[in-house]
Every structure is written in C-alpha cells, then in structure tokens.
Amino acid sequence: MNTWLSLLLKSVIFPGFLFIFAFALFVEWFERKLTGRMENRMGPSYTGPFGVLQPFADFIKLLQKETIDVRSMSTRIVDFMIIASLSLYILCALFIPYTGKSVLSFDGDVVLVSLLLSLASGLLYFAGLLSRNAFTVVGAVRLLLQVVALDIPLVLLAIVPVIITGRFSIVEIAHRMPESLIYAPFLIPFWLVALMFEAITEQAEIERNPFSMPHAETEIVAGYITEFSGVRLALVNLARDVQLTVTSSFLASIFLSGLLRPVSNMAMFINVVLLILETLLIVFVATEIKCITARLRIDIALDLFWKYIIPLCTLLVILLFSVKVIAL
C-alpha cells in the first residue's frame, strides 16, 4: 500500500483520531464512574451498559447546543487554539506504541512528546486569555504558571526510563522496560521514586486535584473555559479527555509497559489490551489522588514544584545516571 495512504488511515482511524476519540470517552466514563463511587454516588448509569455511553451522549448534546460568541472574545484565534491543542494531543498519540509499533517514531521522541503535551496545554492558555473575562484570564494565567512549573520535571522524569533502558525512542523503551529492571534490580528504587514524582506531576499536567487551580470551580467558576459553549465547549472537553488519555498512555508506555514484539496479529492484539489496561491503571491512581485531596493554592503548588520537585528530580536523574555509569 501507498505509504502516505497508510499514514493517513493510521492517523484517522487507528491509533489516530477515531481510536483516541473512543478511548478518551471511555476513559472519561471510567474516571467519572470511579469518582462517583469514591464520593458515595452512582456516577453515570443510564446511557448504555453501566452508563458507558454517557460521555458520548454529552459530547453529542453539546454539539447541538448554541455556540455563543462573547463580544469580547477573539473568536477565530480561540477556535484555532482549541483545534490546534486537540490536534497536538492526537499527534502525540501517534507516537504511542499501542500495537507494539508506533506510527511515528525516532530516537528522542520521548522528550518531544513530553514537550508537545505541555505545548498543547499552553495553547489552551491563549484560548482562555483571549476570552477576555476576569475568570478566564485568572484561570489562564494559573494554567500557564502551572505548565511552566511542571514542564521541567516532566522532561526530567521522561529521561529516567531512557537511562534505565538505554534507549531513546518510546517504542524501544516500551519493549525493554521491565526486562531492564529485572537485569539491573538496583535501579528499581530509582524507578519507584520516579513513579512517585510522576504521579504528582501528572496530576498537575491533567489539572486534577490537588492541582485543579486553572479551573477551580468555587473560585473562578470554570477558569479558562468559562466563556465556552456549544461546539467550542464540546471540543475543549474532548481535548481534555484526550489529554488525560494520551498523557496516561504515554506514561504507561515509558514507565510500565512490557510490550511484545509485533511479530504476529496475536501479539499486536495483546499489546493493545496490555497498554489500555496500564493506561486505565494510571487513570485509576490519578483519580484516587484526585478524590482524596483538597485543591491547593497556586502559590503553594508553585512552591512545591520549584522548591522541591524540580531539584529532587534533577538530583534523581544525576544519581541514576552516575549509578548506571558505575554499574556499566
């Protein structure tokens, strides 16, 4: 088959837009149901089996609603930013080896994906800022401060699996991750510490409690998405679901994965199931953290990142690197 056609099919159907769309809505249902059960509620239960189609129904419902153009909003740029952000998240999905091989891959894509994830959040900052409402501006500024603070630990932590496995591309890391730890058990403590930091950083990346300040409901209504409605809101919600899914899949593939070589269809199928389960595991942990914490203040969160997490992550990477070099 023509390589361009194949690339197009992959980016539109699997593991591109359609797969990510379905998976993201499933992850949203999973998160909502889990939150509901944690909070002594039912969670979505009516649409589809166990309410699994509820996020899809919400998406369709929002598409039908009127999209209000607020007079102060720079509509075109805002729309562009939302679509660009969503596209960037889907682009990141193409780097993730759901079947054991990824659509796009090169040495060093670990760092690229970490940065693209932050950039996509950064674009939503513009969407909030250009809505020009007191709530959206405060929310957008908080989002930007948070993205800037978490960007450094995110990249530093992405280097940890690189050092452990000695490979630079996500696919290779995903294949070698558990083996490398088994062959070098003295690296396991580093891996565990990195996982712990990663759990904290991911909460900030996906804006969940205790780092949900950019859309703190009781303070600034809905933060940077306050002025969005209709199609725009549907797309922002979708972008945030995709963000949660892709971030979790990315972390699952570089920190947990033990994917098989894609030699047969069976192996590829097992890989898809395995990575989806690992993604759900990470979403599960993130949701539990969200449910057992109160929201922090933005200054406390920035303190935490700049004073503790960034220096400690740097130290972790330096130590890990020295240990690895000495061991070799």
């Binding site: 909070e39 007191a134 405060v138 009781t218 303070e219 109160a294 929201r295």
Partner: protein
C-alpha cells in the same frame, strides 16, 4: 500590575444564595472587597406586623431554612417574655433537643460545604451522607426533615416517646463516631491544613471591634456563648463546654464547629436521658398585652436577637430580627483583603454565610436623618448606581 474587577455573584459556584461581592484583584491578591447584600430581601419583618402571633411562628421559621429551630425558639421566647409566661420544664428540654439537633445538622452542612469550597468533593459527599442520620432524627422527633414546626408559644407541639428517645441515642452514637472521624480529617489532612491554617486571620481585638458572634468569635478566642452566658430553654441545667480556639484563622473556625457538633450530640444525649415528666405546653393565648421584649438565642451561626414591641391585640406592632450573618459579614469583608483569590471561598465559608436571613432593608439618609420608604423600582435604580 493592573487591577481586575472580579465579581462574585449574584450567581457563583461558591455562593449558595444570591449575593454579590465585588473584589478588586491584583494578580492573585485581593486588594479590596465590597459586599453588597439585599438580593433576597423578602419583606419578612413587615409581614410579621400583618399576621397574628401564631402565624408569626411559621413566618420566623422561614427566615432561615437551615437554622429554623433557632428562629422559632427565639420567636416563641420573645412572645413568652412579652406575655410573662414560662414554658413547662419538659417543653424546655424538648426545645433544647430540637435546637441542638438543628445545630448538628447546620454544622455538618457547613463542614460539607467547606470541603466543597476547598475542592475536596469526596469529603463533602461523605459528610452530607452522614448528615442524613441527623435529618432522619429530626424527622423522627418533629415529623419533618427540615422545617420542624416544633415550637409554639408556651411550649412545643409534639412529645417524644421513650422508644423514640432510645432510637435517637443509638443513632447519635453512630453519628458521634463519624464526626470524630471527620474531626481527625480536618485536623490532619495536609491539603486542608495548607488551605486553611493562617488564612483569614481575625485577631481577638479585631473580632471584638467588629462585634462578631458565634463560632466566628469563638474561633478568635472570644469566649462568648449565649447558651452559657444568658441561659434559655434548658441550658442552665445541662452541662456542656463552650469551645474556644485561639488560632483565629479559618481552620480554627471550622474546628470550633466540628467540636461544637460533638458537644451538641452530648447535650442531646443528656437532655434525652434527663427528660423531666409533665406537660409540654401551656394553654394558648392569642392576645399579647402592651409590652416590649427581647430574646437572644445562640443560633448555629451565632447570636440571634428578636425584639418585639406589642401595643396589645393579636398582631405585633413591630418585630426586629438581627441575624448572626449580618454581624459577621462586615468583619469578613475586611478579611478578604490581602489574601489571594483562592482564599475567598475558604474565608467566605468560615463565616457560614446565610444571606437569606440577613437581607432586610431600611434606607436612612444620613445627611438629613430621614427614613424613607422606597418602591422596588427605585431600589433597583439605586442598586445600579
């Protein structure tokens, strides 16, 4: 840095009643806060002057849905004072029981809301689940979940049987266990502590200066409680502790409420165990002789005052209500200044605002000391100014 006008209300997720706060913020810091009350003004004091004393009981109950028992206790007491009668001992104990059950429900409601405002939704849902225990008790004792309609002039309307008392005591011990667990959560959870400790500090001196009342005063080391200082109902016969904390911050105010809930459970338990025998109400008297009377009650949010002037007959000449939120709101407006936007809901929730009871209006022109009655249209025009 430029100053942004951040307008909270009349509709805002942090406010559960329509009220407006205008905050001037620089970055994240609040420089100035202006509360504007009056969105739920219902003309209730005027209604008192047109309805009989008996109807007034139900009217006073509707001033505040949450602390309705405190309002009816206060109203019945002020009429009893004007009549010069005293309810029988059993009625006084029953009043105390319902009043304290009401306090438990109100405090648990607030603690849940506090958790929600801090972004801790799980705690909010769990506290409200356990609040159902006390709601069921109120229904068991009075026949209604929220609007108790329990007190009447000269006593109470329903008696409780020993079986009901036994059920209450059983449910209360279950509730006590849960409240003690929540006390631990509020005391130890690091995220809650980071958000509330040393936030919205109201020093003792300031608290006295602004005349704050209730848990807000007790959280600022002002040892005041109407139940102990000017006992009413059966409080002079029931032993209880007044909870006072000297941290003066949002956390202290929340902890005062947690501890008061435990104390209220003990009061209800003691009252149920020592319930005197006898009548539950005096014969009804419709007319009140010319008199002036005042009654004070420690409502869940603080001191509640009713002032009644009677010129004889079956309807009051004038009834003035001073609700606790009005006393606390002015101090709260000061507390916002210098704190961040994120602290606004935390401080707001720590005064336990109940605006519906607060909103009553008289316009006084300070320049020439004229009291005016204004039409709704004019009022709306003035609000826009």
């Amino acid at each position: 840095m430029s100053v942004i006008n951040l307008i909270f209300g009349p509709q805002h997720p942090a406010l559960h009643e329509p009220e407006l706060f205008r905050f001037k913020v620089e970055g994240e810091i609040v420089v100035k806060a202006e509360p504007r009350i009056g969105y739920v003004h219902r003309g209730i004091e005027k209604l008192f002057e047109r309805n009989s004393y008996i109807r007034g009981i139900y009217l006073s109950e509707r001033i505040c849905g949450i602390c309705n028992a405190a309002h009816t206790v206060c109203y019945c007491q002020v009429v009893e004072n004007a009549l010069g009668i005293e309810p029988p001992p059993r009625a006084r104990y029953l009043r105390t029981i319902v009043h304290e059950l009401n306090r438990i429900h109100s405090h648990l409601l607030l603690l849940g809301v506090a958790a929600e405002e801090l972004g801790f939704d799980t705690l909010f849902m769990l506290i409200w689940r356990d609040r159902e225990l006390v709601m069921d008790l109120i229904e068991l004792v009075t026949g209604n979940r929220v609007m108790t309609a329990f007190n009447t002039i000269g006593g109470v309307r329903r008696d409780i049987t020993p079986e009901v008392a036994e059920k209450c005591i059983k449910a209360l011990s279950k509730l006590e266990e849960r409240v003690k667990y929540y006390r631990k959560v509020f005391e130890e959870d690091p995220t809650i502590r980071r958000r509330t400790v040393e936030v919205g500090v109201l020093p003792r001196k300031e608290a006295i200066k602004y005349c704050v009342v209730g848990p807000m005063a007790r959280g600022s080391a002002v040892d005041v409680d109407i139940r102990r200082d000017w006992p009413y109902a059966a409080y002079d016969e029931i032993p209880f502790n007044v909870i006072v904390r000297d941290e003066c911050d949002v956390w202290a105010r929340l902890m005062v409420r947690v501890d008061e809930t435990i104390e209220a459970i003990n009061i209800v338990r003691y009252a149920l165990e020592h319930l005197p025998k006898g009548e539950i109400r005096l014969p009804l008297r419709r007319a009140v002789p010319p008199a002036e009377a005042v009654s004070r009650v420690e409502a869940p949010r603080g001191e509640l005052i009713y002032h009644l002037i009677s010129k004889g007959g079956t309807i009051p000449y004038r009834l003035k209500v001073r609700t606790p939120t009005l006393a606390n709101l002015l101090a709260a407006a000061k507390l916002f200044e210098g704190n961040t936007i994120a602290d606004i809901p935390a401080i707001l929730v720590s005064i336990d605002p109940c605006f519906a009871c607060t909103d009553r209006v008289t316009l006084i022109d300070l320049k020439d000391n004229k009291v005016k009655r204004v039409s709704l249209r004019e009022l709306a025009r003035r609000c826009r100014k």
